[in-house]
Protein backbone atom coordinates (compact mmCIF):
# COMPACT_ATOMS: atom_id res chain seq x y z
CA UNK A 1 0.00 0.00 0.00
CA UNK A 2 1.18 3.53 -0.76
CA UNK A 3 -0.34 6.96 -1.04
CA UNK A 4 -0.14 9.25 -4.05
CA UNK A 5 -1.09 12.90 -4.37
CA UNK A 6 -0.84 15.27 -7.30
CA UNK A 7 -1.85 18.84 -7.99
CA UNK A 8 -1.84 20.67 -11.31
CA UNK A 9 -2.75 24.34 -11.09
CA UNK A 10 -4.74 26.10 -13.80
CA UNK A 11 -5.03 29.29 -11.76
CA UNK A 12 -1.58 30.96 -11.41
CA UNK A 13 -2.75 32.87 -8.34
CA UNK A 14 -2.57 29.59 -6.38
CA UNK A 15 1.09 28.96 -7.34
CA UNK A 16 2.59 30.47 -4.15
CA UNK A 17 0.44 27.99 -2.17
CA UNK A 18 1.28 24.86 -4.17
CA UNK A 19 3.82 23.54 -1.65
CA UNK A 20 1.47 24.10 1.27
CA UNK A 21 -1.48 22.42 -0.47
CA UNK A 22 0.59 19.42 -1.60
CA UNK A 23 2.18 19.05 1.83
CA UNK A 24 -1.26 18.88 3.50
CA UNK A 25 -2.39 16.29 0.96
CA UNK A 26 0.80 14.27 1.51
CA UNK A 27 0.46 14.27 5.30
CA UNK A 28 -3.18 13.11 5.04
CA UNK A 29 -1.89 10.03 3.20
CA UNK A 30 0.52 9.11 6.05
CA UNK A 31 -1.36 5.97 7.07
CA UNK A 32 -1.13 4.61 3.52
CA UNK A 33 2.67 4.97 3.62
CA UNK A 34 4.50 5.94 6.81
CA UNK A 35 8.02 4.68 6.00
CA UNK A 36 9.23 7.24 3.43
CA UNK A 37 7.91 10.22 1.54
CA UNK A 38 8.85 12.36 -1.39
CA UNK A 39 7.67 15.21 -3.51
CA UNK A 40 8.45 16.38 -7.04
CA UNK A 41 7.73 20.01 -7.65
CA UNK A 42 8.01 22.28 -10.69
CA UNK A 43 8.89 25.76 -9.37
CA UNK A 44 9.63 27.18 -12.82
CA UNK A 45 12.45 27.31 -15.34
CA UNK A 46 15.93 28.68 -14.75
CA UNK A 47 16.95 30.11 -18.12
CA UNK A 48 20.09 28.58 -19.57
CA UNK A 49 20.58 26.44 -16.48
CA UNK A 50 19.88 22.87 -15.50
CA UNK A 51 18.97 21.95 -11.94
CA UNK A 52 20.58 18.88 -10.41
CA UNK A 53 19.19 17.88 -7.04
CA UNK A 54 21.75 15.71 -5.23
CA UNK A 55 21.43 13.83 -1.97
CA UNK A 56 23.99 12.69 0.57
CA UNK A 57 23.67 10.83 3.87
CA UNK A 58 26.61 12.95 5.09
CA UNK A 59 25.65 16.45 3.89
CA UNK A 60 28.05 18.22 6.29
CA UNK A 61 31.01 16.47 4.71
CA UNK A 62 29.88 16.32 1.09
CA UNK A 63 28.17 19.66 0.41
CA UNK A 64 30.68 22.36 1.52
CA UNK A 65 32.65 23.41 -1.56
CA UNK A 66 30.63 21.14 -3.85
CA UNK A 67 29.48 24.11 -6.01
CA UNK A 68 33.09 25.21 -6.63
CA UNK A 69 34.23 21.66 -7.41
CA UNK A 70 31.39 21.04 -9.88
CA UNK A 71 31.89 24.51 -11.38
CA UNK A 72 35.52 23.66 -12.06
CA UNK A 73 34.58 20.31 -13.61
CA UNK A 74 31.95 21.75 -15.98
CA UNK A 75 33.80 24.99 -16.66
CA UNK A 76 31.11 27.44 -15.56
CA UNK A 77 29.43 29.12 -12.63
CA UNK A 78 27.42 26.81 -10.36
CA UNK A 79 24.96 27.99 -7.72
CA UNK A 80 24.06 25.74 -4.80
CA UNK A 81 21.25 25.77 -2.28
CA UNK A 82 21.48 23.20 0.53
CA UNK A 83 18.26 21.87 2.06
CA UNK A 84 18.97 19.26 4.74
CA UNK A 85 20.27 16.11 2.98
CA UNK A 86 19.62 17.58 -0.47
CA UNK A 87 21.45 20.24 -2.46
CA UNK A 88 20.06 21.98 -5.53
CA UNK A 89 22.89 22.69 -7.98
CA UNK A 90 22.26 25.07 -10.88
CA UNK A 91 24.69 24.12 -13.61
CA UNK A 92 25.09 25.54 -17.14
CA UNK A 93 22.73 23.85 -19.61
CA UNK A 94 24.28 20.91 -21.46
CA UNK A 95 26.78 20.02 -18.74
CA UNK A 96 24.69 17.36 -16.97
CA UNK A 97 26.88 14.42 -18.03
CA UNK A 98 30.08 16.17 -16.98
CA UNK A 99 28.54 17.15 -13.64
CA UNK A 100 27.34 13.60 -13.00
CA UNK A 101 30.76 12.09 -13.57
CA UNK A 102 32.34 14.78 -11.37
CA UNK A 103 29.83 13.96 -8.60
CA UNK A 104 30.79 10.28 -8.80
CA UNK A 105 34.47 11.20 -8.49
CA UNK A 106 33.91 13.54 -5.53
CA UNK A 107 31.99 11.12 -3.28
CA UNK A 108 30.25 7.77 -3.73
CA UNK A 109 27.67 9.06 -1.23
CA UNK A 110 26.34 11.68 -3.67
CA UNK A 111 23.22 10.51 -5.50
CA UNK A 112 21.26 12.44 -8.12
CA UNK A 113 17.58 12.78 -7.17
CA UNK A 114 16.49 14.73 -10.23
CA UNK A 115 17.64 16.72 -13.21
CA UNK A 116 15.82 19.22 -15.38
CA UNK A 117 15.16 22.88 -16.07
CA UNK A 118 12.30 23.08 -13.60
CA UNK A 119 11.91 19.78 -11.69
CA UNK A 120 13.13 19.38 -8.09
CA UNK A 121 12.70 16.07 -6.24
CA UNK A 122 13.03 15.80 -2.46
CA UNK A 123 12.64 12.41 -0.78
CA UNK A 124 13.77 10.70 2.40
CA UNK A 125 12.97 7.90 4.81
CA UNK A 126 10.63 8.95 7.63
CA UNK A 127 7.09 10.09 8.33
CA UNK A 128 5.67 12.39 5.63
CA UNK A 129 5.30 15.28 8.10
CA UNK A 130 8.97 14.98 9.10
CA UNK A 131 10.16 14.72 5.50
CA UNK A 132 8.05 17.75 4.54
CA UNK A 133 9.42 19.78 7.48
CA UNK A 134 13.04 18.79 6.72
CA UNK A 135 12.82 20.32 3.24
CA UNK A 136 10.38 23.12 4.14
CA UNK A 137 8.14 21.85 1.34
CA UNK A 138 5.13 23.90 2.44
CA UNK A 139 6.99 27.13 1.58
CA UNK A 140 7.61 26.09 -2.04
CA UNK A 141 5.72 27.57 -4.95
CA UNK A 142 5.21 26.08 -8.37
CA UNK A 143 2.81 25.29 -11.19
CA UNK A 144 2.36 21.59 -10.41
CA UNK A 145 3.75 18.76 -8.33
CA UNK A 146 3.29 15.16 -7.25
CA UNK A 147 3.99 13.38 -3.98
CA UNK A 148 4.19 9.89 -2.56
CA UNK A 149 4.00 8.21 0.84
CA UNK A 150 5.57 4.75 0.83
CA UNK A 151 4.76 1.48 2.58
CA UNK A 152 7.48 -0.75 1.14
CA UNK A 153 6.53 -4.21 -0.09
CA UNK A 154 9.04 -5.09 -2.80
CA UNK A 155 12.38 -3.73 -1.60
CA UNK A 156 14.26 -2.04 1.24
CA UNK A 157 13.21 1.18 2.99
CA UNK A 158 15.93 3.53 1.75
CA UNK A 159 16.17 6.99 0.22
CA UNK A 160 16.79 5.45 -3.19
CA UNK A 161 13.71 3.23 -2.79
CA UNK A 162 11.50 6.24 -2.03
CA UNK A 163 9.44 7.93 -4.75
CA UNK A 164 9.24 10.04 -6.94
CA UNK A 165 11.70 8.55 -9.42
CA UNK A 166 13.33 10.75 -12.04
CA UNK A 167 12.77 9.19 -15.46
CA UNK A 168 14.37 11.79 -17.72
CA UNK A 169 14.96 15.53 -17.87
CA UNK A 170 12.08 17.18 -16.00
CA UNK A 171 10.19 13.87 -15.83
CA UNK A 172 9.24 11.87 -12.78
CA UNK A 173 7.08 8.98 -11.68
CA UNK A 174 5.28 7.83 -8.54
CA UNK A 175 3.71 4.39 -8.19
CA UNK A 176 1.17 2.64 -6.00
CA UNK A 177 1.20 -1.11 -6.50
CA UNK A 178 3.74 -3.79 -7.21
CA UNK A 179 5.27 -4.97 -10.47
CA UNK A 180 5.73 -8.73 -10.81
CA UNK A 181 7.97 -8.88 -13.90
CA UNK A 182 10.52 -6.33 -12.69
CA UNK A 183 13.43 -8.79 -12.44
CA UNK A 184 13.29 -9.92 -16.06
CA UNK A 185 12.58 -6.39 -17.25
CA UNK A 186 15.53 -5.05 -15.23
CA UNK A 187 17.87 -7.56 -16.91
CA UNK A 188 16.52 -6.59 -20.31
CA UNK A 189 16.84 -2.85 -19.69
CA UNK A 190 20.37 -3.21 -18.29
CA UNK A 191 21.34 -5.07 -21.46
CA UNK A 192 19.97 -2.08 -23.37
CA UNK A 193 22.35 0.11 -21.39
CA UNK A 194 19.81 1.72 -19.05
CA UNK A 195 21.24 2.57 -15.62
CA UNK A 196 19.20 0.94 -12.81
CA UNK A 197 20.52 1.43 -9.31
CA UNK A 198 18.37 -0.64 -6.93
CA UNK A 199 16.29 -3.83 -6.71
CA UNK A 200 13.17 -1.66 -6.46
CA UNK A 201 10.26 -2.53 -8.78
CA UNK A 202 9.20 1.08 -9.39
CA UNK A 203 12.69 2.08 -10.48
CA UNK A 204 12.30 -0.50 -13.25
CA UNK A 205 8.96 1.06 -14.21
CA UNK A 206 10.65 4.47 -14.35
CA UNK A 207 13.61 3.06 -16.31
CA UNK A 208 11.20 1.42 -18.74
CA UNK A 209 9.59 4.80 -19.50
CA UNK A 210 13.05 6.39 -19.89
CA UNK A 211 14.07 3.64 -22.34
CA UNK A 212 10.86 4.01 -24.37
CA UNK A 213 11.36 7.76 -24.63
CA UNK A 214 15.03 7.38 -25.57
CA UNK A 215 13.74 5.28 -28.47
CA UNK A 216 11.55 8.12 -29.64
CA UNK A 217 8.25 7.51 -27.82
CA UNK A 218 6.41 10.43 -26.28
CA UNK A 219 5.56 10.12 -22.60
CA UNK A 220 1.95 9.34 -23.56
CA UNK A 221 3.10 6.58 -25.93
CA UNK A 222 5.47 5.20 -23.31
CA UNK A 223 2.65 5.03 -20.77
CA UNK A 224 0.41 3.39 -23.33
CA UNK A 225 2.96 0.64 -24.03
CA UNK A 226 3.59 0.17 -20.28
CA UNK A 227 0.07 -1.30 -20.17
CA UNK A 228 1.31 -4.17 -22.37
CA UNK A 229 4.84 -4.62 -21.03
CA UNK A 230 4.47 -4.19 -17.27
CA UNK A 231 2.89 -7.04 -15.35
CA UNK A 232 1.42 -6.35 -11.93
CA UNK A 233 -0.58 -3.70 -10.19
CA UNK A 234 0.02 -0.04 -10.75
CA UNK A 235 -1.46 3.36 -10.49
CA UNK A 236 1.18 5.69 -11.94
CA UNK A 237 1.21 9.46 -11.74
CA UNK A 238 3.88 11.09 -13.90
CA UNK A 239 5.12 14.66 -13.92
CA UNK A 240 6.48 16.54 -16.94
CA UNK A 241 7.78 20.08 -17.31
CA UNK A 242 4.38 21.39 -18.30
CA UNK A 243 1.89 18.94 -16.86
CA UNK A 244 1.02 15.61 -15.33
CA UNK A 245 -0.48 12.29 -16.36
CA UNK A 246 -2.26 9.33 -14.75
CA UNK A 247 -2.55 5.70 -15.80
CA UNK A 248 -3.93 2.63 -13.99
CA UNK A 249 -3.40 -1.02 -14.93
CA UNK A 250 -6.36 -2.87 -16.50
CA UNK A 251 -7.34 -4.55 -13.20
CA UNK A 252 -7.22 -1.19 -11.38
CA UNK A 253 -7.37 -2.46 -7.81
CA UNK A 254 -5.16 0.36 -6.50
CA UNK A 255 -7.40 3.28 -5.56
CA UNK A 256 -7.43 6.61 -7.39
CA UNK A 257 -9.67 9.66 -7.12
CA UNK A 258 -9.45 12.83 -9.18
CA UNK A 259 -11.03 16.24 -8.79
CA UNK A 260 -11.19 19.10 -11.26
CA UNK A 261 -12.30 22.71 -10.91
CA UNK A 262 -11.57 25.88 -12.90
CA UNK A 263 -8.55 26.36 -10.62
CA UNK A 264 -6.86 22.93 -10.55
CA UNK A 265 -6.75 19.21 -11.33
CA UNK A 266 -5.98 17.10 -8.26
CA UNK A 267 -5.16 13.44 -7.74
CA UNK A 268 -5.40 11.46 -4.49
CA UNK A 269 -5.22 7.78 -3.58
CA UNK A 270 -8.26 8.57 -1.47
CA UNK A 271 -10.82 11.36 -1.37
CA UNK A 272 -9.51 12.22 2.12
CA UNK A 273 -6.42 13.76 0.52
CA UNK A 274 -8.57 16.24 -1.42
CA UNK A 275 -11.01 17.49 1.24
CA UNK A 276 -9.19 20.72 2.08
CA UNK A 277 -8.71 21.91 -1.51
CA UNK A 278 -10.57 25.14 -2.32
CA UNK A 279 -14.00 24.60 -3.85
CA UNK A 280 -13.83 20.79 -3.51
CA UNK A 281 -17.57 20.69 -2.65
CA UNK A 282 -18.40 21.77 -6.20
CA UNK A 283 -15.53 20.03 -8.00
CA UNK A 284 -16.06 17.29 -10.58
CA UNK A 285 -14.86 14.21 -8.67
CA UNK A 286 -14.32 10.87 -10.44
CA UNK A 287 -12.21 7.72 -10.54
CA UNK A 288 -9.85 7.42 -13.54
CA UNK A 289 -10.80 4.49 -15.79
CA UNK A 290 -8.54 1.41 -15.96
CA UNK A 291 -6.07 1.10 -18.87
CA UNK A 292 -6.63 4.73 -19.84
CA UNK A 293 -3.95 7.40 -20.12
CA UNK A 294 -4.95 10.84 -18.85
CA UNK A 295 -2.90 13.98 -19.40
CA UNK A 296 -3.13 17.60 -18.36
CA UNK A 297 -0.71 20.17 -19.69
CA UNK A 298 -0.25 23.91 -19.41
CA UNK A 299 0.63 23.97 -23.12
CA UNK A 300 -2.18 21.86 -24.57
CA UNK A 301 -5.75 20.75 -24.04
CA UNK A 302 -6.35 17.77 -21.70
CA UNK A 303 -6.20 14.39 -23.42
CA UNK A 304 -7.51 10.94 -22.66
CA UNK A 305 -6.37 7.87 -24.55
CA UNK A 306 -8.25 4.63 -24.04
CA UNK A 307 -6.22 1.47 -24.63
CA UNK A 308 -7.45 -0.69 -27.49
Amino acid sequence: MCGIVGLFLKDPSLEPKLGAMLTDMLITMTDRGPDSAGIAIYPGETSGKTKLVVQSDAPDEDFPGLDTAIGKAVGGKVAMQVKSTHAVLEIPAGTTAAARSALADISSRLRVMSRGESLEIYKEVGLPKDVAARFDLSQMSGSHGIGHTRMATESAVTTMGAHPFNTGDDQCLVHNGSLSNHNSLRRKLRREGIHIETENDTEVGAAYLTWQMQNGATLGEALQSSLDDLDGFFTFVVGTKDGFGVVRDPIACKPAVMAETDQYVAFGSEYRALVDLPGIEDARVWEPEPATVYFWSHDAAPTTEKAA
Binding site: Y271, V275, W286, E287, P290
Partner: protein, 227 residues
Protein backbone atom coordinates in the same frame (compact mmCIF):
# COMPACT_ATOMS: atom_id res chain seq x y z
CA UNK B 1 -32.37 14.31 15.32
CA UNK B 2 -28.99 13.74 16.98
CA UNK B 3 -26.06 15.44 15.22
CA UNK B 4 -22.45 14.25 15.54
CA UNK B 5 -19.54 16.32 14.20
CA UNK B 6 -17.11 13.56 13.22
CA UNK B 7 -14.11 15.90 13.17
CA UNK B 8 -14.77 16.96 16.78
CA UNK B 9 -16.01 13.68 18.26
CA UNK B 10 -13.71 11.26 16.43
CA UNK B 11 -14.51 8.02 14.66
CA UNK B 12 -14.22 5.62 17.59
CA UNK B 13 -16.61 7.54 19.81
CA UNK B 14 -19.03 8.18 16.94
CA UNK B 15 -19.31 4.50 16.13
CA UNK B 16 -19.46 3.55 19.85
CA UNK B 17 -22.38 5.97 20.30
CA UNK B 18 -24.23 4.41 17.38
CA UNK B 19 -23.42 0.88 18.61
CA UNK B 20 -24.92 1.77 22.02
CA UNK B 21 -28.38 2.22 20.49
CA UNK B 22 -30.62 -0.66 21.54
CA UNK B 23 -33.39 -2.33 19.54
CA UNK B 24 -36.04 -0.05 21.10
CA UNK B 25 -34.04 3.21 21.20
CA UNK B 26 -35.96 6.46 20.99
CA UNK B 27 -33.08 8.15 19.23
CA UNK B 28 -33.70 6.76 15.76
CA UNK B 29 -32.46 9.65 13.61
CA UNK B 30 -28.75 10.50 13.49
CA UNK B 31 -26.76 12.90 11.37
CA UNK B 32 -22.98 12.79 10.93
CA UNK B 33 -21.38 16.00 9.69
CA UNK B 34 -17.80 16.63 8.44
CA UNK B 35 -17.10 13.03 7.35
CA UNK B 36 -14.14 14.26 5.20
CA UNK B 37 -13.71 10.88 3.50
CA UNK B 38 -12.96 9.06 6.78
CA UNK B 39 -12.85 5.27 6.89
CA UNK B 40 -15.34 2.91 8.59
CA UNK B 41 -18.07 5.45 9.33
CA UNK B 42 -21.22 3.81 10.81
CA UNK B 43 -19.72 0.32 10.66
CA UNK B 44 -21.14 -2.61 12.60
CA UNK B 45 -24.50 -1.02 13.43
CA UNK B 46 -27.19 -3.33 14.82
CA UNK B 47 -30.33 -1.31 15.59
CA UNK B 48 -33.25 0.03 13.52
CA UNK B 49 -31.83 3.56 13.35
CA UNK B 50 -31.37 5.94 10.41
CA UNK B 51 -27.93 7.53 9.99
CA UNK B 52 -27.36 10.30 7.45
CA UNK B 53 -23.77 11.14 6.55
CA UNK B 54 -23.52 14.68 5.17
CA UNK B 55 -20.65 14.35 2.72
CA UNK B 56 -18.37 11.79 1.09
CA UNK B 57 -17.05 8.75 2.93
CA UNK B 58 -13.90 6.60 2.69
CA UNK B 59 -13.39 2.86 2.97
CA UNK B 60 -16.06 0.53 4.43
CA UNK B 61 -18.87 2.92 5.34
CA UNK B 62 -21.83 0.91 6.68
CA UNK B 63 -19.80 -2.30 6.69
CA UNK B 64 -21.33 -5.29 8.53
CA UNK B 65 -24.58 -3.34 8.90
CA UNK B 66 -27.63 -5.00 10.46
CA UNK B 67 -31.07 -3.33 10.56
CA UNK B 68 -29.86 0.28 10.20
CA UNK B 69 -30.45 2.63 7.26
CA UNK B 70 -27.35 4.60 6.24
CA UNK B 71 -27.77 7.55 3.83
CA UNK B 72 -24.60 8.90 2.27
CA UNK B 73 -25.09 12.45 0.96
CA UNK B 74 -21.97 12.34 -1.18
CA UNK B 75 -19.86 9.64 -2.79
CA UNK B 76 -18.74 6.45 -1.06
CA UNK B 77 -15.24 4.96 -0.89
CA UNK B 78 -14.06 1.38 -1.51
CA UNK B 79 -15.82 -1.51 0.22
CA UNK B 80 -18.95 0.37 1.23
CA UNK B 81 -21.49 -2.00 2.84
CA UNK B 82 -18.98 -4.85 2.90
CA UNK B 83 -20.48 -7.94 4.54
CA UNK B 84 -23.78 -6.18 5.27
CA UNK B 85 -26.35 -8.56 6.80
CA UNK B 86 -29.56 -6.50 6.65
CA UNK B 87 -30.78 -2.90 6.55
CA UNK B 88 -30.25 -0.37 3.77
CA UNK B 89 -27.52 1.89 2.42
CA UNK B 90 -28.42 4.71 0.03
CA UNK B 91 -25.59 6.52 -1.77
CA UNK B 92 -26.56 9.81 -3.42
CA UNK B 93 -23.31 10.09 -5.41
CA UNK B 94 -20.99 7.45 -6.88
CA UNK B 95 -19.64 4.33 -5.20
CA UNK B 96 -16.01 3.19 -5.42
CA UNK B 97 -14.78 -0.36 -6.01
CA UNK B 98 -16.11 -3.54 -4.35
CA UNK B 99 -19.40 -2.07 -3.18
CA UNK B 100 -21.31 -4.59 -1.04
CA UNK B 101 -18.57 -7.23 -1.19
CA UNK B 102 -19.66 -10.53 0.41
CA UNK B 103 -22.86 -8.88 1.72
CA UNK B 104 -25.48 -11.36 2.93
CA UNK B 105 -28.66 -9.28 3.01
CA UNK B 106 -30.37 -5.91 2.94
CA UNK B 107 -30.31 -3.42 0.08
CA UNK B 108 -27.74 -0.98 -1.31
CA UNK B 109 -28.94 1.79 -3.65
CA UNK B 110 -26.52 3.93 -5.69
CA UNK B 111 -27.95 7.05 -7.36
CA UNK B 112 -24.78 7.58 -9.41
CA UNK B 113 -22.33 5.02 -10.83
CA UNK B 114 -20.58 2.15 -9.08
CA UNK B 115 -16.97 1.30 -9.85
CA UNK B 116 -15.26 -2.06 -10.49
CA UNK B 117 -16.04 -5.30 -8.62
CA UNK B 118 -19.49 -4.10 -7.53
CA UNK B 119 -21.14 -6.94 -5.55
CA UNK B 120 -18.08 -9.18 -5.62
CA UNK B 121 -18.88 -12.50 -3.90
CA UNK B 122 -22.36 -11.21 -3.00
CA UNK B 123 -24.18 -13.69 -0.76
CA UNK B 124 -27.78 -12.45 -0.67
CA UNK B 125 -27.65 -8.65 -0.78
CA UNK B 126 -29.73 -6.68 -3.30
CA UNK B 127 -27.80 -3.91 -5.06
CA UNK B 128 -29.57 -1.37 -7.29
CA UNK B 129 -27.42 1.06 -9.30
CA UNK B 130 -29.07 3.90 -11.20
CA UNK B 131 -25.98 4.52 -13.36
CA UNK B 132 -23.24 2.22 -14.68
CA UNK B 133 -21.04 -0.38 -13.00
CA UNK B 134 -17.36 -1.18 -13.64
CA UNK B 135 -15.47 -4.32 -14.64
CA UNK B 136 -15.50 -7.69 -12.82
CA UNK B 137 -18.78 -6.91 -11.08
CA UNK B 138 -20.47 -9.73 -9.11
CA UNK B 139 -17.37 -11.91 -9.51
CA UNK B 140 -18.21 -15.23 -7.77
CA UNK B 141 -21.64 -13.86 -6.82
CA UNK B 142 -23.45 -16.55 -4.87
CA UNK B 143 -26.91 -15.20 -4.08
CA UNK B 144 -28.92 -11.97 -4.24
CA UNK B 145 -29.72 -9.56 -7.07
CA UNK B 146 -27.67 -6.89 -8.84
CA UNK B 147 -29.79 -4.38 -10.79
CA UNK B 148 -28.06 -1.94 -13.16
CA UNK B 149 -30.09 0.78 -14.88
CA UNK B 150 -27.10 1.83 -17.01
CA UNK B 151 -24.28 -0.24 -18.54
CA UNK B 152 -22.03 -2.95 -17.10
CA UNK B 153 -18.25 -3.15 -17.70
CA UNK B 154 -16.08 -6.12 -18.67
CA UNK B 155 -16.50 -9.65 -17.29
CA UNK B 156 -19.88 -9.30 -15.59
CA UNK B 157 -20.66 -12.23 -13.27
CA UNK B 158 -17.41 -14.10 -13.81
CA UNK B 159 -17.53 -17.53 -12.08
CA UNK B 160 -20.90 -16.72 -10.54
CA UNK B 161 -23.15 -19.13 -8.67
CA UNK B 162 -26.85 -18.33 -8.13
CA UNK B 163 -26.80 -14.51 -7.96
CA UNK B 164 -29.06 -12.81 -10.55
CA UNK B 165 -28.07 -9.79 -12.64
CA UNK B 166 -30.50 -7.42 -14.38
CA UNK B 167 -28.96 -4.87 -16.75
CA UNK B 168 -30.92 -2.25 -18.70
CA UNK B 169 -28.07 -0.97 -20.86
CA UNK B 170 -25.18 -2.72 -22.54
CA UNK B 171 -22.82 -5.31 -21.05
CA UNK B 172 -19.27 -4.84 -22.31
CA UNK B 173 -18.50 -8.53 -21.85
CA UNK B 174 -19.71 -11.47 -19.78
CA UNK B 175 -17.32 -13.30 -17.45
CA UNK B 176 -16.60 -17.04 -17.53
CA UNK B 177 -19.76 -19.14 -17.15
CA UNK B 178 -22.12 -16.13 -17.10
CA UNK B 179 -24.88 -16.11 -19.70
CA UNK B 180 -27.93 -14.20 -20.86
CA UNK B 181 -31.16 -15.72 -19.55
CA UNK B 182 -34.84 -15.59 -20.31
CA UNK B 183 -36.86 -12.93 -18.43
CA UNK B 184 -39.89 -14.82 -17.09
CA UNK B 185 -42.94 -13.43 -15.28
CA UNK B 186 -41.45 -14.25 -11.86
CA UNK B 187 -38.34 -12.22 -12.74
CA UNK B 188 -40.37 -9.22 -13.89
CA UNK B 189 -42.24 -9.31 -10.57
CA UNK B 190 -39.03 -9.66 -8.59
CA UNK B 191 -37.37 -6.79 -10.47
CA UNK B 192 -40.41 -4.51 -10.07
CA UNK B 193 -40.26 -5.14 -6.33
CA UNK B 194 -36.54 -4.29 -6.18
CA UNK B 195 -36.98 -1.10 -8.24
CA UNK B 196 -39.91 -0.04 -6.03
CA UNK B 197 -37.90 -0.71 -2.87
CA UNK B 198 -35.00 1.35 -4.28
CA UNK B 199 -37.36 4.16 -5.29
CA UNK B 200 -36.28 4.06 -8.92
CA UNK B 201 -38.74 4.56 -11.75
CA UNK B 202 -37.85 2.08 -14.50
CA UNK B 203 -39.72 -0.54 -16.52
CA UNK B 204 -38.62 -4.15 -15.72
CA UNK B 205 -39.34 -5.08 -19.37
CA UNK B 206 -36.35 -2.95 -20.48
CA UNK B 207 -33.89 -5.13 -18.54
CA UNK B 208 -32.02 -8.29 -19.55
CA UNK B 209 -31.34 -11.06 -17.05
CA UNK B 210 -27.94 -12.74 -16.72
CA UNK B 211 -26.82 -15.58 -14.48
CA UNK B 212 -24.74 -18.71 -14.14
CA UNK B 213 -24.59 -21.23 -17.00
CA UNK B 214 -23.67 -23.74 -14.25
CA UNK B 215 -20.89 -25.31 -16.29
CA UNK B 216 -18.15 -24.60 -13.76
CA UNK B 217 -19.94 -26.04 -10.71
CA UNK B 218 -18.16 -29.39 -10.94
CA UNK B 219 -14.67 -30.07 -12.17
CA UNK B 220 -14.53 -31.10 -15.80
CA UNK B 221 -11.14 -31.55 -17.39
CA UNK B 222 -12.44 -30.01 -20.62
CA UNK B 223 -13.06 -26.77 -18.69
CA UNK B 224 -9.56 -26.66 -17.21
CA UNK B 225 -8.75 -23.56 -19.25
CA UNK B 226 -11.73 -21.67 -17.82
CA UNK B 227 -10.94 -22.22 -14.13
Amino acid sequence: MQTIDLTEVGLRETNATLHAQAENTNQTAWEIINPRGSHAIACGLDAPIEVTVKGSTGYYCGGMNQQATVNIHGSAGPGTGENMMSGKIIIEGDASQYLGATAHGGMIVVKGNASSRCGISMKGVNIVVQGNIGHMSAFMGQSGNLVVCGDAGDALGDSCYEARFFVRGSVKSLGADCEKKEMREEHLTLLQGLLDEAGIDADPKDFTRYGSARNLYNFDVDNAGAY
